[in-house]
C-alpha cells in the first residue's frame, strides 16, 4: 500500500537533506528566475531587472547571494567607450542547475498552459524537443516515484 518504503520517515536525517540545502541556496523568491534568465543569456544587472521586474534591492541581494554561493560569478567587462562594468555569468556549479530549471518548466508547460508553451527547447543540431528523464545507472527508464526505493545513508550501502 505504501507508495514508498516509509523506512526513511524516521531514520533519514532531514537537517542535512539536499533538497533543503539546495533550496537554501536558490529557493528564495527570484533566485530561480534570475537563473532562468542567466540560462537565456542575460548577464547584466539592468537586463535582469528589466526582464524580471524585480525590485533593484532584491535583485542586488539575490545576485550577491548567488555569487557568494558560487552559482554565478561577477566579472568585469569592457564595453568600448564605456566605463568598466560587471556582468554575472553562470559557473559550472550554476550550469548544473539546468536540469532543475528544465524540470520546473516542463511541469509548468504541462499543467499551467493556457496555450502553447511560451518557450521550447530543442536539441542543437538535431532539433528534437529536449526533456528531463529519470534513469538508473543500468540504463533503465524510471517512470516515477513508485519505481524508486529511497534509502537513507550513503550512495551504496557496501556490505561488510
Amino acid at each position: 500500500m505504501a507508495m514508498l518504503t516509509p523506512v526513511s520517515q524516521d531514520s533519514f536525517d532531514r537537517s542535512r537533506c539536499s533538497v533543503a540545502g539546495t533550496l537554501a541556496v536558490v529557493g528564495e523568491k527570484w533566485s530561480l528566475l534570475v537563473l532562468r534568465e542567466a540560462f537565456l543569456g542575460v548577464r547584466r544587472f539592468a537586463d535582469f531587472q528589466q526582464a524580471l521586474g524585480a525590485p533593484k534591492a532584491v535583485l542586488t541581494d539575490r545576485l550577491g547571494t548567488l555569487v557568494a554561493e558560487g552559482v554565478l560569478r561577477r566579472e568585469p567587462y569592457q564595453a568600448e567607450g564605456a566605463r568598466l562594468r560587471h556582468e554575472y555569468r553562470l559557473t559550472p556549479k550554476g550550469r548544473d542547475l539546468y536540469p532543475t530549471l528544465v524540470a520546473l518548466m516542463e511541469w509548468g508547460d504541462r499543467y499551467l498552459a493556457d496555450g502553447p508553451p511560451p518557450l521550447a527547447l530543442d536539441h542543437r543540431g538535431c532539433g528534437a524537443p529536449v526533456r528531463v528523464a529519470l534513469r538508473c545507472d543500468e540504463g533503465h527508464e524510471v517512470a516515477g516515484p513508485r519505481d524508486v526505493h529511497a534509502r537513507p545513508g550513503g550512495p551504496a550501502a557496501l556490505p561488510g
Copy 2:
C-alpha cells in the same frame, strides 16, 4: 560567444513563463519540502509538522494551497477506534513534480555535501542509483544548456 541564442531575450513573453508559473504553485517556502515528505510517504498533518519543523499556520496554508492547486488531495481516512481524519496524498499532477525534486536533491548532493548524501535513490528491483538526465526526443543525450536551443513560441514552429 553567446552561450545561448539571445533571440529569446526580447521576443519571449516572460509573463507566461512556465518556470515562473510553477514557482507560483510550489515556490513558496516549505512547499517543495512538503512535497519531498509526501514522496517519502508522509501523509498526515502532524507527521509533516514533525518532519519539517514548520510553523503550524504556515503548514496549514501550504497544504491548503497545494490541495487547491491539485498537487495534493485531502482524503478522509479511518483509523480504528479513532475519529475520522484526513490525509494529504499526491495527485498525478503532484507526482509529476518528482523529477524536479530529484534534480534539486542531486544538485545538493553534488555541491553541498559534507559527507555522503543523506538519501539515496535506487531503481526498484535493479538497485542501481537513479539520476535525472536531459534527453531529446531522438534519444540523444543532452549534456547541458550549450546543447540546447531555446526558441520562443510553440513546441514546433510548423511552417505555413
